[in-house]
């Protein structure tokens, strides 16, 4: 490489001179412990059932083995009540996946593929039952009008469904009054709204006002990223600032257990059970 100031080493030669530990440290590699099989993880051991066929169903979900889940569930349904198969087998498998994901030993793709496998099993159980199994509760999800970004909403919907919630997905570019109508119609235990822009997030306070007029009070999990931040979300009623998509089912569980939206705001880190930078001042 030549430059006006005289000859200089090429970037490759320069790179060899550099001790990069002074420049950056890949802490993900530093803190990565030894590889262990998912089923040997101490938390997973506490979650996985010991009784068969529940154990092997849960393991198939843990390994995202969709074919295996379908075979084992069909087998189990011959003599076991579908609801038990879901609660003691499929559900336990998903709980194990969530435990590993919380510790970053499993990753989003693993969660998604395990969720696909679990849903396949649930479908078979529901066919056996002849009707949909009772869901923990209903959640209405939407993306604010005029905002094209919906990957956040899709992740929230997936995590909720994977954790036993029925989700009414209104999609993108949803006018405020359609959200109100859906709340009145489905009487959800929680609503999730996503937006990413300073001028579309203004839908949230508008919806809160409409809810007040209609006398509706349900926690709204206002999640964003981008322009939607906690100080904005807490500047109007009913709303709780959602930081990560995988927090949604935990908040839904707490809402189900009777926590008000005001309580959810102050107990967020405890409810989701992990450090959350945006709630660092309420870790107490």
């Amino acid at each position: 490489m030549s430059y006006e100031g005289g000859d200089v080493m090429s970037i490759e030669e320069l790179a060899k001179k550099i001790d990069f530990d002074y420049v950056h440290i890949r802490y993900n590699v530093v803190v990565e412990g030894p590889a262990i099989k998912p089923e040997d993880d101490p938390d997973v051991k506490k979650i996985l059932p010991t009784e068969e066929p529940f154990r092997s169903i849960a393991l198939a979900v843990l390994k995202a083995d969709l074919k295996g889940v379908e075979e084992k569930v069909k087998e189990a349904l011959k003599k076991i009540d579908p609801v038990k198969v879901i609660e003691n087998g499929l559900g336990k498998g998903m709980d194990a996946v969530s435990a590993l994901y919380a510790k970053a030993l499993y990753f989003l793709p693993d969660v998604m593929l395990s969720a696909d496998a679990m849903m396949a099993g649930v479908k078979l159980c529901e066919e056996k039952l002849g009707k949909a199994t009772k869901k923990k509760g209903t959640v209405v999800s939407f993306v604010a009008e005029g905002d094209p970004h919906d990957i956040g909403k899709n992740l929230v919907v997936m995590f909720l469904r994977a954790n036993g919630y029925e989700v009414i997905d209104l999609g993108r570019d949803v006018p405020n009054k359609e959200v109100i109508e859906a709340i009145k119609k489905h009487k959800p235990i929680m609503v999730t709204g996503t937006a990413l822009m300073t001028t579309t997030m203004t839908a949230f306070p508008a919806i809160a006002e409409m809810m007040k007029k209609e006398g509706i009070s349900v926690p709204v999990f206002g999640c964003g990223g981008g322009a939607v931040k906690r100080d904005f979300v807490e500047s109007y009623d009913f709303s709780v600032y959602g930081v990560k998509a995988h927090h949604a089912p935990k908040l839904a569980d707490a809402a189900l257990a009777g926590k008000t939206w005001k309580e959810l705001r102050y107990e967020y880190p405890k409810v989701v059970g992990e450090f959350v930078a945006e709630y660092a001042d309420r870790m107490g």
Binding site: V29, N154, T199, T202
Partner: protein, 459 residues
Amino acid sequence: MRRYTKLAYKDPDEILFGHAKFPVQEHFGIVFGAGFVVPEVKVAPAPGTEKDKESLVREMASIAEQAASRAVDIGLPAFMLEQEHVFQQTYYPDWAYDCTHAQLEVLEKYYKEYGVRIALRQTVADIRVEEKGGLRGSEYDNRIAETIERCCEAGASDIAAETMGGKSVIDYGVMRGDIKALLFGEYLAHIDMEYFWTRAVNICRKYDTRPAGDTHCSGANTAMFVAGGLMGKDMSHTGAALVRAMSAARSLVAVECGATGPLKDCGYENTIIKFITGVPIAQEGKDAVCAHSDIMGNLVCQAVDVWSNESVFHREEMGGPTPAVWLQATGYEAALMNTAIQAGYAKVLRDLYALTDMYRDPQALILAYPNAFRIAKAIVEYGKDPYLRSRAAALEAAKIIKEAYEAKRIALTRFELDSLNKFVSILESLPMEADKFVDECLREYKGKIPTFDPKSYEL
């Protein structure tokens, strides 16, 4: 529609910030890529100012005034103001006209009084909703075309966009770490880009407004954000690196349709496109911290022509209003680069910028200019085939990462390494004919992705 089958640069060492093979002139005496770096500032309108046209026009003029007055107060020779349209600015073409006109009035006042060289970029919003009326011919689609025309009429220096073609399939691929869906999404994006930019270029050419270009913010940046920092657990950084490589093939289409650059700031893939086309490029990095994090804050300066802060709330810091504060930040970084150019040390600073992040993360590694050159070459080898060139870009990126890993220049976690190997084996097992690949994907994904509308891509 021109396809690139060879690179604009013969040697990676030729590329350099502030220099493009084909500099771009815009009015108010500004030229991009002609031997100096121009700083850019972009600020999101305050929540609520979108309630009516007058309020948004006042907000736009206030952003322009706050930026321009700081530029002269600290001695910046030139700057670009970019306005990323909010929904209303594109949905109502006359809002776009009035906002653009109001900003130009302010900027022209400073150009005349101080001689500071200025450009105004209008970035139309891609308000199309694939699952509601499709990407072609919907009311939303037509308004975009009208708004581009109105911005040209009002005198915008250039028009940019961040189109969303292929987004539904790419989002599916990002969430599942499904490289086949990601490649299919990039292929779909090529098709929509050609539709969007052929039209945009034709409109701009009727005016003294440059068709600037596009970025894969809705694909590669989504992957980057989901991948997050080193401790992220949602998408592997090796996967995000492959998506970034493929996005260069997709964003190239704007230039193939006649866009002149400077390509838009969110395109971390722009160094690759600059190797192919020689057009000037905007970039964002360590001065975009208020908009989003990234893991290559310095490296993106290596070949930049317009250095941007990406975005920030319009509000006040202790140091002044954010348009002033952030033009000062990008202005001072551009000043450092311009000093290096003048002093004859630009290539040294370029290498320091690149080396600072090159082994911080696989996403930075593949964009370091010697590697970006290799990916650019892989793309032009299949220049005429959007499918094969995207696939080739991903495979070359994977090769670059594997080589560095094996040479112990970069350490990877099991998640990063396992997903890399899985992606490579899937990519290598795919058919070499585009239509075979497309049929396979339509069968596999059409049912699973409700918002995907094949008709929008003429499939």
